[in-house]
Subunit: 336 residues, 2 copies
Amino acid sequence: MSDSNHSYRLASRPVGLPTRDAWDYVEGPIPQPGDGEVLVKVLYLSLDPAMRGWMNDMRSYVPPVGIGEVMRALGAGVVVQSNDPGFAPGDHVTGPTGIQEYAAVRGRELAKVDTSLAPLPVWISALGMPGLTAYFGLLDICSPKEGETVVVSGAAGAVGSVVGQIAKIKGCRVVGIAGGPEKCSYIVDELGFDAAVDYKNERLGPGLHNACPDRINVYFDNVGGETLDAALAQLARFARVSICGAISVYNATSPPPGPANYLSLLINHATMTGFVVFDYVQRYAEATAELASWYASGQLKSREDIVDGIETFPETLLMLFNGSNNGKLALKVADE
Amino acid sequence: MSDSNHSYRLASRPVGLPTRDAWDYVEGPIPQPGDGEVLVKVLYLSLDPAMRGWMNDMRSYVPPVGIGEVMRALGAGVVVQSNDPGFAPGDHVTGPTGIQEYAAVRGRELAKVDTSLAPLPVWISALGMPGLTAYFGLLDICSPKEGETVVVSGAAGAVGSVVGQIAKIKGCRVVGIAGGPEKCSYIVDELGFDAAVDYKNERLGPGLHNACPDRINVYFDNVGGETLDAALAQLARFARVSICGAISVYNATSPPPGPANYLSLLINHATMTGFVVFDYVQRYAEATAELASWYASGQLKSREDIVDGIETFPETLLMLFNGSNNGKLALKVADE
């Protein structure tokens, strides 16, 4: 075990894309776990679009990360010391470690995970927060019914890929919006989506129109902007829209426009509902069990794009915003 | 009874505000009711913001009015001849008469109304389509709970005034957005709203903030535009937004921007649902009975702004869009 801890701390609040000067890379002592806390050696860090929002100083569902604080992030690792009777050295856990090598985390914020069911990175992907986000955002918000058309944006990403696979399990016709032929063939050929719309190479309106001859019953939005507008324009009667994120506008330097086609809600008696996965914390266990059973049966696949080295964090994070990651973006921090 | 029928027909599709050249004022014979039809002498015509949408050639919840067709409108009148056994001469009815003096309407599209319970104009106001719109858009879409804060825009209008009164009946704190001191004092002093925000004389953001110290649980939107955005910015957790209309943008000559603050839905787990009253036709009778009981007990007031003369239709319609009407805007077409 090393005797120092490297962390990324927020140095300044970025305008637009967060460049390296938004961060301080700091070396310090390994934290000492307090009462009820667990010392975790971080092995993988989850990089998520929501992190961009946490850097802004505004009211949201969680407080912003303070200047000088370790950047908030979910991680997966191994317990090295525990002051919580629920955890022992050697346990694999996930939780809010932050972007650092070692984290002292309250036991009640950690989840123990079973690496005999799935490799550790899957527990921050399809069986972790992205999977839970997909699960609740699709099933709880949208109640998809067999035979309905479900469209998801960011379809090759960590959340979108799970949304589409759950929708297939539920018997829906599934259309994914993704960027580029590789991602589009991945979601159709590997994940079993019925169709893909390649937003980088075709116009969204005609693309969705062709892929959704019966219009859109459920739209799960990860990206916002013109993608949301294109989907709104083709809603079916009584459609349900789930607002999970808006990655296309997170780095906007002036207030981005809203969805101009929102009156499609009116003419179609449609509903648009926002959520964050933390709203469902009471139901994580139930959802994780179901996701794990689908994973075990091969109905749910997980793909991670793992970049080596915590020191690459500032540049690796940007991959989310230009869409160059293939699958769940994660950092590998250390070997076990 | 006259031996001719005057009607307003759509002459051209307007861009922006519908001016007189959008209309043809036509004299013709009184229509002959066919099988199952009823000949109605129109006494009052309801002028509604939705009429503007019906003039556009686009997909919506009803087909557009065709060029040369009588303008679609709801009317109230008296039966003069009936080929439907459910109606007899002398009956008072409401239904889709169009902007004309006499209309042959299928009996099943007409509702018989009891003028001993309320004067005929009230049956196209609080006890008619605007009242039903308020009823379903508030109770079905938003499920307001006792003690919650309900905000309604267009609060002195035909729909908004009923929304606020029903919300008061349900024990909510009610804040209305209206233009000018007369309308604001009307909704507070006459209708019993808890507070008013005068969008013509104060900034919406601070106005709503002051009027809604516990934020907004339910927002009923009739106007769209910056009013919707201001309300979204102050939603409470699990807020419900009902999209009933968007009068502020109906005459826009370029696509109006969408609600830039829609991500408030995400951070608040809030929901925004659109509807049109026609979606609830199966429940009109039940709702009308409840509205009529509130009217009879004095808990629900109706105010009509009645302009004399069908020939004034083109100019009178425009009152809706500059907000100069006080209460439900209607035309008086004839004496009984």
